[in-house]
Every structure is written in structure tokens, then in C-alpha cells.
């Protein structure tokens, strides 16, 4: 009797088992029974609570020809359908971020027979259809930022730029997908040795507005270094370049991530030699971006990060406050997630995802339930690249954002 009473007493503290809804927190790796390598590019949450993921397939023995891969998953990460067995996708190559979702229409840029095309896939028939052809001279797309006012800012490699050899083409479309800006920059190359080495991942572009002046920015190989360029959105002129190579050590330097936070505020990741610096309070010095000397301020060093990998940055809400989330690749092959307090650059929390197999982030979003989702690429069976989706609940995210409180390092 005494033993049973003891057992019952222990039961009261031993039986607690909090339910976590499967859609709140999960990790999912999307396998494929082939030797193909499938890499994540971008993803968005859909209206049904699920996710649509854009990736690329490199068929075994196909000379690294990357075919678009579209994967639709449910709210708990279960596969609903993918494009692997839809033969029309094999007509396209080189898909790029970002993926745009409008209802059940999914659009992204890729190449087809040397043309830069915007492809739409509708949930109803799941077949790719070209809705815009923007460049018809063997251009290869590198990045297509979705703009707040609608439309895209497209970064493409142009082999014959203004009849002056290879260059970088920057195209802005309006909401109706008609080009409203189209400029080619000879001598500014996306096809650099460094890009080849790093799978083009540092080719990104975006825009910000400061004092009524819209400025485009993009990363490209310029003046013997991987440089961040500011472009006047009206004239198309290069108004500022951050060519940051150390003239003494010749250490490679680059902005491995940049996110405008509004006004002159930015969050940046900066690789200086072997060290990655994260800065959630980067800013331009004054009203004229062309005169800035401050954006290159380093921020806090994170020696555990790999400088040759992109850092993905998003401004999100966590624990009722705005934070800057940065997903980076750690040297131990994990995905490292950092939450910073913008304005102070205080590190509020950090988490690492991955073990044994390599995990690399390809993007992150805030989910409709207040949580966070990270898309990445991992390797299964030590051989095959596969897409991984990691979902954190709103509670997980809040706990992460309050880590510094537990340590007495913030309020």
C-alpha cells in the first residue's frame, strides 16, 4: 500500500506531457528515391497554412543542369505534391529566388532556351507556364527580389552587355510585370570565380527608399572584389560601391546579407576574411547614400560562421517585439539562427539546427501563427542533397527571443 501510494505521488509529477500541435513545431526532410541532388531556393507560406517550396534538381550525370523543383506541403509539413514527375518542368533551368505566391498561383524566374522567363504554376494544373519573357539574349537569372509595390527587381548575367562583353543586367518590373527599369552594367560581373565557388548564393538584390529617393542595391564582382553596389533607380547610375577588399591582406570581404529596415537603417552580415560580422543596427551615414561611409561598420563577430555562405536576414515579431532574425551556416555544418534587437544590436537569442549531416539555410519567414520557418538544404545518406523545412512555434520563438533575459543580459 505504501509503495502504491509512493507510486501515485510520483505519478502526479511524472505524467505531465504537454501537447504541441504538429503544425506548430516540426522538422521535415523531403527525400527522393533517386541519386539526384535537390536544393532549396526559396519558400513561402500559403493561405491554407502549408508551404510552397522552390528548389532545383541537379540530375545525376547532367553536368549540374539545375531544373526547377516545386514542392507543396501541408501545415504539418507533409508533402501534398511535387513537380518531380511533371515532365514540363524539365524544359526550364536555373530557377532563382524569390518565389512569389498569390493565392494558389506560384511564380518564379528561371531560364528557358537562353531566355529569362517568369513562370507561373497554378495549384489547379501544376504545370509551368511562361507569363513573361524579359531578356532574349542568353541571359542567366541570378536573383529576383519581390518589391513591396508589386513586380520584381531581377538580377541577371548578360553575356553581351551593351556590346561590351559580359555584364550584369538589372531589370525592374511594375506590378503588371512590364519592365520599368532595364539597365546593363558592363564590367560588373555576376559570373566571378568567387560566385562559382559559392554556388551563386551571394548574388542578391533589393531596393530601399531614403528621403524620397529609391535606390537599388545588388552584390556583384566589381573592381577585383565582391562589392555591394547602390544604383540610382531613376538614372540607373552607380552611385556608391562598397569595394571592401583589404589592400594589405587582400582578404576577401563581402556583404553576405543585407536587409533594409526602413529609412537609413539596415541589418547586415559582413564577411571579413575568415570572420562573419552580424550587425542589426547598420545604417547609412547621412541622407545621401552616395556619401555613406558607415554601412561597412562591422558589428559583432561570430567566428563560428562560415564566411563563404550567405546570411539570410528577416525582420520579424517575437515575444511581442520586433527582432531581426539571421540564419547563417555554422562551421560545424549546422544552421545557426540569431535574434537581435534592432537599434542596439543586442543578441536576444540563438539556436542551432543540425547534426552529423550538413545543414545550410536558404531562407526564413515568419509564419502566420507567429512562429518561424527556415528552409534549408541538407544531405541524406552522406550523399544526396535534400530540402529540409524547420518550423518553430510562436512559443519557441518567444523563448528564443527571451534567452538573454534568462541570462540577465537584456530586458
Amino acid at each position: 500500500m505504501v509503495l502504491s501510494a509512493l507510486g501515485l505521488a510520483l505519478a502526479t509529477c511524472g505524467l505531465q506531457n504537454r501537447e504541441v500541435p504538429p503544425e506548430d513545431r516540426f522538422t521535415k526532410i523531403y527525400n527522393n528515391p533517386s541519386f539526384d541532388n535537390i536544393t532549396a531556393i526559396d519558400f513561402k507560406q500559403t493561405n491554407d497554412g502549408g508551404y510552397v517550396i522552390l528548389g532545383s534538381i541537379s540530375r545525376e550525370g547532367s553536368n549540374d543542369l539545375r531544373i526547377p523543383y516545386l514542392l507543396k506541403v501541408g501545415p504539418t509539413g507533409e508533402t501534398e505534391w511535387d513537380s518531380n514527375l511533371i515532365p514540363e518542368f524539365a524544359n526550364y533551368t536555373s530557377p532563382v529566388a524569390k518565389l512569389k505566391v498569390e493565392g494558389t498561383d506560384y511564380t518564379f524566374f528561371c531560364a528557358r532556351q537562353g531566355q529569362l522567363v517568369l513562370v507561373r504554376v497554378r495549384e489547379t494544373n501544376r504545370r509551368p507556364e511562361v507569363i513573361r519573357t524579359l531578356v532574349s539574349a542568353n541571359a542567366r537569372p541570378y536573383y529576383a527580389e519581390t518589391l513591396p509595390e508589386g513586380g520584381f527587381l531581377i538580377l541577371a548575367n548578360q553575356p553581351n552587355c551593351q556590346s561590351a562583353g559580359p555584364g550584369t543586367q538589372l531589370i525592374k518590373t511594375d506590378a503588371a510585370l512590364n519592365p520599368s527599369f532595364d539597365q546593363c552594367y558592363p564590367g560588373i560581373s555576376l559570373s566571378s570565380p568567387l560566385f562559382n565557388q559559392t554556388s551563386d548564393e551571394f548574388a542578391y538584390a533589393g531596393s530601399f527608399t531614403l528621403n524620397g529617393r529609391q535606390v537599388f542595391y545588388f552584390n556583384a564582382w566589381y573592381r577585383n572584389d565582391l562589392s555591394l553596389l547602390f544604383i540610382d533607380a531613376t538614372s540607373g547610375a552607380v552611385i556608391k560601391e562598397y569595394t571592401l577588399a583589404d589592400p594589405v591582406s587582400q582578404a576577401k570581404t563581402l556583404f553576405s546579407g543585407l536587409e533594409p529596415l526602413g529609412g537609413n537603417r539596415f541589418a547586415s552580415a559582413f564577411a571579413n576574411g575568415a570572420t562573419v560580422f552580424l550587425n542589426a543596427q547598420a545604417s547609412l551615414l547621412n541622407a545621401d547614400p552616395a556619401q555613406d561611409t558607415r554601412l561597412g561598420a562591422l558589428g559583432a563577430p561570430f567566428h563560428e560562421l562560415r564566411p563563404e555562405k550567405r546570411v539570410h536576414i528577416r525582420r520579424i515579431q517575437a515575444a511581442g517585439r520586433e527582432v531581426v532574425a539571421m540564419a547563417a551556416s555554422a562551421r560545424n555544418n549546422q544552421i545557426a539562427l540569431f535574434l537581435f534587437q534592432p537599434g542596439t544590436n543586442n543578441l536576444r537569442g540563438r539556436a542551432y539546427f543540425g547534426s552529423t549531416n550538413p545543414y545550410v539555410p536558404n531562407g526564413l519567414i515568419q509564419t502566420a501563427d507567429g512562429g518561424l520557418a527556415i528552409i534549408g538544404t541538407t544531405t541524406v545518406a552522406s550523399r544526396f542533397a535534400r530540402i529540409v523545412l524547420i518550423k518553430l512555434s510562436a512559443t519557441d520563438l518567444a523563448n528564443l527571443a527571451n534567452q538573454c533575459q534568462a541570462l540577465g543580459l537584456c530586458n
Binding site: M1, L3, S4, L6, G7, L8, L10, A11, C13, G14, L15, Q16, N17, R18, E19, V20, P22, R25, F26, T27, K28, I29, Y30, N31, N32, P33, S34, F35, E60, G61, G77, E78, T79, Q334, Y352, F353, G354, S355, T356, N357, Y359, T378, V380, A381, R383, F384
Partner: protein, 406 residues
């Protein structure tokens, strides 16, 4: 009553009262007090036997009631034994019960005789009653059944566990001919000694009636179960088929402190006593570990040629699972067995089924272990554990009780 007997009675009462007073005053302590009590009741027994031999049965009954029972009468007319009488040596009490019971039976007062006979049989559970008076012998043989009231002992044996998933989770979105988490059947323990669990328990049993008893234990319970994954990748190119198969076995070992509470019904007619039992258990997790064995089978096959196996890698990894398993596990028990009385001991064998009712997976930690989640692509299902236990036991009765046959 004979005046001589009355005087003796008064003398005895004074002796016993004196002993009681001495004890309460702290004059006599320990063995000295007990000796005086025994001496007093031995004298009472002698007097009762004298009266019984003289056929003065009323005096026997009177002496017993006056010296051994309290004056307070209970709601059902029963009278409780005095504290002094309870402290008297068991053998003296048994003799007093024997004389008083025979007197009551001879006086045709079976209601008064019944509690005395029960206690007599319980005190002399292991003695033959062949030399007793016929009335007591008959009672022993036909009217009463004596069995252990409190027993303590130990139990140990083997068990086989089956894991029953009811919500499946997988980190790996399976494609092609792969399968995820196939739980091995309980019969696996017949094939592989690793799947044989063990249990050992200290056991206490209390008889509620002639047939029904309650048993509780403090048990160490080691449970073993496993599931396997199978993954396959195939590449067909220019008439050549390359393949990679990976077999993973996840072998789990959970150790619990187990607290079963059982109600037993036993057939008491024979020396071999079959029983059935049912109850509930609560288990508290002590440790949980897993060994992951992973074997690769790469192969290549050209045209119609037989596949050529290549050399793949094999690795064993041990992991602590405690963060993934809830501390408490509870459920129901049903089973049966048999006991055998060997001398003072009760030997037993039983087969029981433990049906776990709760989910043993700690849901909030399903994805918490990075090595298992990201390295081995393993996330736990919601599952219950059930197991069959074959146990052998040995119990030693502490005391006995006589029950009246219906």
C-alpha cells in the same frame, strides 16, 4: 460459581491488574513485564483446564470473558481482547483459545467459539490437529480454512515488450521503396535474446478474504523493443543501375521502477493454488537508451548482369533517450498463475499482461534532440508500451488467518 473458583478468579484479577499497574507506573519494563503477564495467563490457563476437566464449562467461559476480554461491547455484540492478553505469549493464548473454544462448543455457543477457533487456527497454522478434540478437529477439517494473511517475498522473471504507435511522426518524407519505422513484433524475443527484458520485485501481499488478496510490489522493470527503417535510392543511367540501401535498427532499452497494485483471486482448495489477478501499475522512468545500428548496402548492376555489392559502412551509435520519454507510465494488468506451498514458503509462477495506457513520448521534446532529429532523421511516434511478463516468486507468510467455509 464455586466460591473457591471465585477466590481464584479474584486472585487472578488482582495479579493481572497489578501487572498492568506496574507496567503503567514504569516499575516493570520489557521482558520482566512480559514474563509476569505470561505467568499470570499461564495460571489462568491452568485454572481453565481444571474447570474444563471438572466439566465446569460455565466457569471456563466466565474466566475467559472476565480475564481476556474487555467489558466494552461492540455494536455487533463482540468484545475486544484486553491489551494484556494480546501481549501474552502466542502459545499460551492458543491454549486458552483451545480450552475456551471447546467449552463454548460444548455449551452449544458456536457464535462465541468461532473467533476463538479462527485465532487458534491462525496461530497454529502449521500444526496437525489430529490430537485435538473431535469438535475442533472437525472444525479444522470442514468448517474453517487457514491461509496466510500477510506475505512478503520476491519475484523475478522475463518479459517481452511490444510498442504500439498511435500517432506516427517522421522527419523523413519517404519516397520510393523506403519504409519508415516498422516496429518489430513481440515475438522477436524468441529469435533474439536482446529483446528479452527482465524484472525483479519485492512483493507484499495481504489477504482480504479466503480467496481474495491484494498484492503490491516495488519492481525493477527492464523493457526492450525496436523498430527498423529501410531506405533505398536508385539511379538508372545508360543501362547501369546504381543503388544504395540503408537498414537502420533502433533498439530501445527502457528501465522503470514499477509499482503494480494487484487484486488476486485464488482457488484455495488444493495445495497447488491457481489464481487470476488484475490491477494497475505506475512506472517511473529510471533510464532510457537506444542503440542505432545503420548498415549501408551500395550496389551496381549493369544490363542483365547480377548486381555487384559494394562495400558499405556500418555504424553503431548509443544515445540517451531520457529527454524524449515521459517519467510516468501507467496502465492495467491482467494475468494468472499458480502457487505451491512448500514448507513455510509459497512458490509461484505467473504470466501477466501489462497494458500501458499513456503515451510514453514526451511530446514537447519530439524534435528536441539534434543528433537524433537531424543526424539520424529519427523523431518518436506517440506510442504505448505493452508487455508480457513471466515471473517466478517466493513468499514467506508473516501471519495467518482462518476463514469460515461457506
Amino acid at each position: 460459581m464455586n466460591p473457591k473458583h471465585g477466590c481464584l478468579t479474584v486472585l487472578l484479577v488482582f495479579t493481572l491488574a497489578g501487572a498492568c499497574l506496574a507496567q503503567s507506573n514504569g516499575i516493570m519494563e520489557g521482558a520482566t513485564s512480559r514474563q509476569k503477564i505470561n505467568t499470570a495467563f499461564r495460571e489462568l490457563l491452568g485454572q481453565m483446564q481444571v474447570f474444563y476437566d471438572q466439566g465446569n464449562l460455565d466457569s471456563v467461559a466466565h474466566l475467559y470473558e472476565a480475564q481476556c476480554l474487555l467489558m466494552i461491547i461492540g455494536p455487533r455484540g463482540e468484545r475486544t481482547e484486553t491489551p494484556l492478553f494480546r501481549r501474552a505469549k502466542g502459545e499460551i493464548r492458543a491454549e486458552i483459545y483451545s480450552v475456551a473454544a471447546r467449552a463454548y462448543l460444548a455449551l452449544d455457543r458456536p457464535k462465541e467459539a468461532d473467533p476463538l477457533i479462527r485465532t487458534l487456527f491462525a496461530l497454529r497454522f502449521d500444526e496437525p490437529f489430529d490430537d485435538y478434540w473431535l469438535s475442533v478437529r472437525n472444525a479444522k477439517q470442514y468448517t474453517y480454512y487457514t491461509s496466510p494473511r500477510w506475505q512478503v517475498g520476491a519475484r523475478g522473471g522475463l518479459n517481452a515488450t511490444s510498442a504500439a504507435p498511435f500517432n506516427r511522426f517522421s522527419i523523413f518524407d519517404i519516397g520510393g521503396g523506403s519504409t519508415d519505422k516498422q516496429y518489430l513484433p513481440i515475438s522477436e524475443f524468441l529469435r533474439d535474446a536482446r529483446f528479452v527484458g527482465q524484472q525483479f520485485a519485492f512483493s507484499v501481499e495481504y489477504a482480504l478474504s479466503k480467496n481474495i488478496s491484494v498484492n503490491t510490489q516495488l519492481a525493477w522493470l527492464a523493457m526492450r523493443y525496436a523498430y527498423i527503417d529501410y531506405f533505398q535510392w536508385v539511379n538508372i543511367q545508360a543501362g547501369t543501375v546504381q543503388s544504395l540501401d540503408i537498414d537502420n535498427e533502433h533498439f530501445s532499452r527502457h528501465n522503470f521502477l514499477n509499482f503494480p497494485l494487484l487484486v488476486k483471486y485464488r482457488v484455495v482448495k488444493y495445495r497447488w493454488q491457481p489464481f487470476v489477478q488484475a490491477g494497475a501499475f505506475y512506472s517511473n522512468l529510471v533510464s532510457a537508451t537506444r542503440t542505432l545500428n545503420s548498415i549501408e548496402f551500395p550496389a551496381v548492376k549493369a544490363g542483365n548482369q547480377p548486381a555487384i555489392p559494394l562495400f558499405g559502412q556500418e555504424q553503431d551509435t548509443d544515445k540517451n533517450l531520457e529527454s524524449r520519454i515521459v517519467r510516468g507510465n501507467f496502465g492495467l494488468i491482467a494475468g494468472g498463475g499458480i502457487t505451491y506451498a512448500l514448507g513455510p514458503f509459497r512458490l509461484g509462477a505467473s504470466l501477466s499482461y501489462f497494458y500501458g495506457l499513456n503515451n510514453i513520448t514526451r511530446r514537447e521534446n519530439r524534435f528536441a534532440d539534434p543528433e537524433l532529429t537531424f543526424g539520424f532523421h529519427d523523431v518518436p511516434d506517440d506510442l504505448r508500451l505493452h508487455n508480457w511478463e513471466l515471473s517466478f516468486s517466493i513468499h514467506l507468510p508473516i501471519n495467518y488467518k482462518a476463514y469460515k467455509n461457506q
